[in-house]
């Protein structure tokens, strides 16, 4: 489907999409699609007609402000035109992830705090176990603590992103199911990759290849297997997110089928949001383990890496939650209201009821001024 319009119209629609961030994703898509059709028909009438239409529509930001923000009641657009169905630009994927964050419950600061503190501590201790083995830090224990903290943060993050009405921090069956699912899927992927790599190197050796050739085959097979395993893991991430967020109707099969045809968009999201941080995390580990002498600098690197790794985890949570919505066909809700939200009427009335006697007492204490 090629429905691209002349550049000024595309720019207008891009700005309008940004300016309509207060709407849920399905309503925003509906408004933008209707205006895309409007501009396409004007464009077909000739350049001047399109220019006139753009002038008549006015500034995208002003137009966006005129739309009723109350939500609900709009006809759903045909599925083929919904955002996740079509190939998205990287900026559009990032905008979807940002919309997921804006619609999430409050509490990501705590998720970030848990991740940063636990990752800094476990980074430093695990590096110490490698660089200074004589200290006797138990690497297995440190890794176990790290995994527990990350799983707790991921579970809370998915609940905040997908089920903000649920308590984010709790150790229930959903957290256990999510943790078991993630650990199992990761273990199966790694075990499968190791078996494939070993098998490939055995075949290469049996074929009479030199040691260098066997190593090259091993490296190539390892890379391909790693890419395939990562792809498989990406396709079940929405299901894992659903487990954590107690979206019981969404199965692994639904995750698999829902991500079909959307891997391009998913990979763009990973490439833009997760991969750069992951590469930085890898580089920091390399410097800490191979280049820098162990000392105060290592502690500083652990601090930086803790923040970077927390960024990886939070980006992954938000991206997987966004992909869950794409795969399940659920729109990204309108953003959660911040401090500007209208206060709850019942709470205001309660506050008034408490204040009234106080104000009355104060009035009674005031002396009556002489006329």
């Amino acid at each position: 489907m090629d429905d691209r319009l002349p550049l000024p119209a595309e720019r207008f629609l891009r700005s309008l999409t940004k300016a309509l961030w207060t709407l849920s994703s399905d309503e925003r898509d509906a408004v933008v699609l209707e205006l895309r059709g409007h501009l396409a028909e004007r464009s077909a009438q000739g350049g001047p007609a399109l220019d006139q239409a753009l002038t008549a529509l006015g500034a995208p930001e002003a137009l966006a402000r005129r739309f009723d923000q109350s939500g609900g009641g709009l006809a759903a657009i045909p599925a083929d035109f919904a955002t996740p169905r079509r190939p998205l630009r990287v900026a559009e994927v990032v905008a979807e992830v940002r919309a997921t964050f804006r619609a999430s419950g409050e509490g990501f600061l705590l998720v970030g705090a848990l991740l940063v503190t636990s990752l800094i501590a476990t980074d430093f201790l695990s590096w110490m176990s490698i660089r200074l083995p004589e200290v006797g830090v138990d690497a297995v224990f440190v890794t176990a603590i790290r995994i527990l903290a990350v799983f707790a943060a991921l579970g809370a993050g998915y609940r905040l992103a997908l089920s903000p009405r649920l308590p984010a921090w709790r150790l229930g069956t959903s957290t256990l199911a999510f943790s078991a699912g993630l650990a199992g899927a990761t273990a199966i992927s790694i075990a499968g990759a190791i078996l494939v790599v070993r098998g490939a190197s055995a075949v290469a050796a049996a074929a009479g290849m030199t040691q260098g050739g066997v190593l090259a085959v091993k490296a190539a097979v390892a890379l391909v297997t790693l890419a395939l395993a990562s792809g498989l893991l990406l396709r079940i991430q929405p299901w894992l997110a659903a487990l954590a967020a107690e979206r019981h109707g969404f199965t692994a099969r639904a995750s698999w089928e829902g991500t079909r045809g959307r891997m391009g968009n998913i990979l763009k999201g990973w490439a833009a949001l997760v991969l750069p941080l992951y590469v930085l995390h890898f580089a920091l580990n390399l410097v800490a383990l191979k280049l820098l002498p162990f000392g105060a600098g290592t502690l500083f690197l652990a601090g930086v890496d803790g923040i970077v790794s927390a960024g990886v985890a939070i980006a992954a949570i938000l991206l997987n939650a966004t992909v869950f919505r794409w795969a399940s066909g659920e729109p990204i809700p309108a953003p959660r209201a911040f401090g500007s939200a209208r206060p709850d009427e019942a709470l205001v009335e309660q506050a008034r009821a408490r204040l009234r006697p106080l104000l009355l007492q104060r009035r009674l204490r005031q002396p009556v001024s002489a006329e």
């Binding site: 429905d3 739309f67 609900g72």
Partner: protein, 128 residues
């Protein structure tokens, strides 16, 4: 004297009536509504129509469906009146006729220094 603001208020009030009245003839999509309204004296423009249609749809005065026209690459959103919208537009048209008759009567050229509103109530002529 600048009457732009006053004209803007007039247009806002009339735009809803124009759109609902055009939909009385059957379902239409946005561009069709705009073209049918013609110049519409500036009552409707590209920038006012779509927010208005969205509001009317949210308020269930109109309902919409998406359909692909022959040879089109982008679907159109067709609007039609709901039962509530039908009743509303009938009421609005009746009120508009009364209102416009009153206003027209009130602003007619004074013949004897006084104007007569259609209701029979006389109102003082505007001072020069």
């Amino acid at each position: 004297m600048d009457i732009t603001s006053w004209q803007s208020q007039l247009r806002k009030g009339a735009a809803e009536l124009v759109v609902l009245s055009l939909l009385r003839d059957g379902e239409r999509y946005g561009l069709d509504i705009l073209d049918s309204a013609g110049g519409s004296g500036g009552v409707l423009s590209d920038g006012t129509l779509y927010p208005l249609l969205t509001r009317l749809e949210r308020e269930a005065k109109v309902e919409a469906r998406w359909a692909m026209a022959d040879g089109a690459r982008i679907p159109r959103k067709y609007y039609r009146l709901t039962a509530e919208g039908e009743a509303l537009v009938a009421e609005m048209q009746r009120a508009w006729h009364e209102f416009s008759a009153f206003v027209t009567g009130a602003i007619e050229e004074p013949r004897d220094g006084r104007q007569t509103a259609p209701s029979g109530r006389t109102i003082p002529a505007l001072a020069d």
